[in-house]
Amino acid sequence: MSQVTFVQSINQALHDAMEDDARVLVLGEDVGDAEGGGVVGITKGLSQAFGCERVKSTPISEQAIMGAAIGAALKGFRPVAEIMLMNFTTVASDMIVNHAAKLRFMSGGQTSVPLVVRTMTGAGVSNGGQHSDYLEAWYAHTAGLKVVLPSTPADAYGLMRACIDDPDPCIFVETLPALFNKGEAPVRGSRVPLGKAAVLREGRDVSVIGYGRIIQSVAQLADRLAGEGVSMEVIDLRTVSPFDKEAVLASVRKTGAAVVVHEAVREFGVGSEISSLIHEEAFAALRAPVRRIGAKFAPVPFSKPLETASLPSLDEVEAAVRELAAVTA
């Protein structure tokens, strides 16, 4: 199997979607080839292949970008709007939260907004407090939106294709510090269904549920601990909303213990929702309360040691897993 980066797989997904469906549009800051095909090159070659009418570079105007995408989507186009960094989605949040998310409902189903918001984020490269936040919980908390956060290039391809196909607005979160990491190449034309988790490792002692870059590290941890007789099941949600409840509950009912982990701050995070679900639906199966691991409840700092300290670590996951594995019913 050949290996590709996230940049390559997402570019391929956009290319293939535009080739398959003339309604697919791409817009955002610097997305055209004249502007370099995106700040990290994800949209490289698209304007050359499909023209500057379907691939439009925009001014730095996040509300105008999202408004243009919403209006085009209302008329049946399938815009993929890039809001360069997730923190910048706050500037467009009226368009995303008050409009894209709600127009279908408020119109009684007469209109729909089939768009995708592509946005990058993630701490670890000293981008500081306004270029690093994971805000997926905000959007997952908004009825009408779907949120995905792929952890492999192949999933990124399949989820992007699924988001573009989807009749509702999707937030597609890219992990900036991992964009040039390699993984198995996607099968062209494949889809990863929204709302379906992947079981990265099967195990019987403790379930670790999460998504994004960190869940791949957790899978490596599972391989290491397996040698010591600790059997971890690792679930990559892939879609944050709607998340795969069946996969989560089935795993916890088998293992009887769970750790939830993400790179967003722990407090009021997606992990809290998952933890609640487990306690409400699978309490009898639990040997111990669910453990939540996330970033510290603080803005992302600049200085390297501080930034590292703010992030959830694999050591924390390992400690939680060992503790839970040691609890007997």
Binding site: L103, R104, G108, G144
Partner: protein, 325 residues
């Protein structure tokens, strides 16, 4: 001055008659408790959408705002479905899920009604972009008030529309108040239309209570947009007779200002002009008014006879397919 046919003048009058009487019925219905809803009366501002809509086609689209019931009706949104929506009924345009601030009726081009100041404009750009991509010469009207000219989205939208030469009419109904704040107290520039210069597009300030002036400005802007020459900003000067929101005591308005403005009500003015200039007889106009009154009465009956939506509707239309919870 462009000649306007009698047919067009009467079509504008018919819309104005519908809008004026509709507003009166809505306010009366709120006072009597028949309708329970926030209401932002447009009485006094009828000329603007009545004139613009008389020049629009069915495939032209609009995005409007919470004070926008007149914009939706003038564009052709059915009166009965509108009243059912205001009554929260299942037969409403939006099945009772939107209400007065979110009237939507795509069949007549009413694509978005927003309750957020300034948010009609960015979406109007997208609708216009779609028309351009489809190779259609359809245009989009973004309605908003003077208060919206101080929101960032206004400036972002004008810039993008001009840059992309989008077929949009940015129509600012300047009724001299942003909520309770006088225009001059909240806006550094003395005319919204002047902002157009900052974005290299034509900007024109017109008497929005004068059908002929409004017609001239709208016709030119629509022609420009259809010809692919890009957007126009129209600042239509007007006045709202019943304050910001229903129940407003207008205490922030100057002494006598409201009475003076209401004395210059554009509706009777246009009506008298049509007769004086020989465009229509008193009988003809009275008949049009009676027809519109009957349409509204029938709409109210339709709304009151309709059922409320079942509670299960809370979870439908959130997504195309209901999500398991």
């Amino acid at each position: 001055m462009t000649q306007i046919s009698d047919d067009l003048l009467l079509s504008i009058f018919e819309k104005m008659a519908l809008l004026k009487q509709n507003d009166e019925k809505m306010r009366a219905s709120i006072s009597s408790g028949r309708l329970v809803m926030p209401y932002y009366s447009y009485r006094g501002q009828e000329v603007i959408p009545a004139t613009i809509s008389a020049l629009l086609r069915d495939d032209d689209t609009i995005c409007t705002i919470y004070r926008g019931t007149h914009d939706a009706l003038a564009k052709g949104c059915p009166v009965d479905r509108l009243w059912a929506e205001l009554g929260g009924r299942a037969t409403g345009t939006c099945k009772g899920k939107g209400g007065p601030m979110h009237i939507t009726h795509p069949e007549t081009g009413v694509m978005v009604t927003t309750g957020i100041v300034g948010s009609s404009m960015p979406i109007a750009n997208g609708l216009a972009w779609a028309a351009k991509l489809e190779g259609s010469d359809a245009v989009t009207v973004a309605y908003f008030g003077d208060g919206a000219s101080n929101i960032g989205a206004f400036h972002e939208s004008l810039n993008l529309a001009s840059l992309w030469k989008l077929p949009v009419l940015f129509v600012c109904s300047n009724n001299l108040y942003s909520e309770h704040t006088r225009f001059a107290a909240g806006t550094a520039i003395d005319s919204v239309a002047k902002s157009a210069a900052a974005y290299s597009m034509p900007g024109v300030r017109v008497d929005g209570n004068d059908v002929l002036a409004m017609h001239a400005a709208a016709a030119e802007a629509i022609d420009r947009a259809r010809a692919g020459e890009g957007p126009t900003l129209i600042e239509a000067m007007t006045f709202r007779f019943h304050g910001h929101v229903f129940g407003d005591d207008d205490a922030y308005m100057g002494e006598g200002e409201k009475a003076e403005r209401m004395a210059a009500d554009p509706y009777p003015r246009f009506r008298a002009w049509l007769i004086d200039e020989g465009h229509a007889s008193e009988d003809r106009l009275a008949a049009i008014e009676a027809e519109q009154a009957e349409r509204i009465e029938a709409a109210i009956r339709f709304a009151l006879d309709s059922e409320f939506p079942p509670a299960s509707e809370v979870l439908t239309d959130v997504y195309e397919q209901e999500m398991a919870r």
